[in-house]
Symmetry: C2
Subunit: 217 residues, 2 copies
DNA sequence: TGTACATCAGTGAACGCGCGTTCACTGATGTAC
DNA sequence: TGTACATCAGTGAACGCGCGTTCACTGATGTAC
């Protein structure tokens, strides 16, 4: 991982090893937070797991919250790269709406499952932090626009009167459901398909159903 | 509001005025929590707003968390009554699936808007408390079953291969979306319809689209 | 290449503060005869 | 109907503890000549 571009929350780095320190602290924080939740993890624990003392955290980050911001930054940066790669129009030459939506949702389900811990915390514990909400919203908008770009050139198959709005609201529906079905669901919630495959299948059906994608005739 | 049935979290009541105390404390807590969030409200503030001292809280509730549990109880009880009234089959004699779903979603949107504060906290801050999650799940299942009862007698209009599963997952989709679109959305999130009317309309479309409700021919 | 000095990286004990919880007490309500 | 006693309701100052944050310090790295 490259030196981090968003230094607003990080002290500027003078020596190369500081960058390593930052990454090690972030890694430790990510693991612990994913496991126990942000407010149940102490600064001391994070430092210890990274092999530092408490002071090291404060020489790199403004405070505990600043560390969380950096974690989000790192995560969001990855997400941008992934989005752009995944929705590259060249990749989807000649693909149908069904194929695009289905693959996208399978992927989203996987990602939510794999990174459940971090996502859960980044969404859950940070909803009250305006700047984090904003960053998340921007990412959301970006994903939405990339997806739209792919689907709208195939808009003749979409029955919804306002296809552009439908794609972005449809995506919101998907994210909202994944949040309930995967991130905040420990005990097999009522109505949620038991397997991730089935979940992806039903979400795909829902998305296509909402867009009003016609059977090809 | 009647004396509370779930006394597990409340000290048993010997005198009548204690019940009033409980309600006053719960009212105060509900207002404050809806406004500032559970963990940002102190026991002292709750007591003060209700016109008591801190000790009064502890003579009625096991601890701060116990108070939250009672708040959820009170809320959930209301929700059960509302559900049973709303989904009373007699009320919907001769109604179409579209009418039922549309009215239900309009109502859900309203409720989420009106009780935004409490709902947000009851969902958000309590996801890590197993017993609260369970109560919520049971309510969810109940709503789902009531709705199913209404829709499945009209199943001939449903295209989804498993109508029963579809109704309950569809409801999950609706709740998940409402959570993002109303509860945790302060700043007009990307892709979310600007007005509640429009939101309800689109959610209805999504629900019906997912069920695969055919145009009546 | 070596020496002297400045800056940076990281330490960890100590601090401080907020807030949940307790507990000895006062006053109010109910009960027994 | 009144008196004595027991129990309950509520007070609020004091406690305690966890945890984020600080700060004086040591050691490491870089720079100048």
């Amino acid at each position: 991982m490259k030196p981090h571009p968003h230094l607003h929350w990080v002290r500027p780095v003078q020596q190369a090893r500081s960058q390593q320190t930052i990454e090690r602290l972030l890694d430790a924080a990510e693991t612990l937070i994913a496991d126990k939740g942000f407010s149940d993890v102490t600064v001391a624990q994070i430092a210890a797991r990274a092999g530092f003392s408490v002071g090291a955290v404060y020489s790199r980050f403004r405070d505990k919250q600043g560390l969380l911001h950096c974690l989000q930054d790192r995560f969001v940066d990855e997400a941008y790269l992934t989005t752009d790669a995944a929705f590259d129009p060249d990749r989807w030459e000649g693909a149908s709406i069904e194929e695009i939506v289905s693959e996208m949702i399978v992927f989203l389900v996987e990602i939510h499952r794999e990174r459940r811990g971090v996502l859960r915390e980044l969404l859950g514990r940070t909803r009250y932090d305006a700047s984090m909400v904003e960053r998340r919203e921007r990412l959301n908008a970006h994903i939405s626009q990339r997806l739209s770009a792919l689907l709208l050139v195939r808009a003749e198959r979409i029955g919804h009167p306002d296809p552009e709005a439908a794609v972005s609201f449809g995506l919101r529906i998907v994210f909202g459901t994944l949040e309930q079905a995967i991130l905040f669901n420990d005990t097999g919630a009522y109505g949620v398909p038991a397997s991730d495959d089935k979940l992806a299948e039903e979400l795909t059906r829902a998305f296509l159903g909402y867009l009003g994608v016609f059977e090809r005739t």
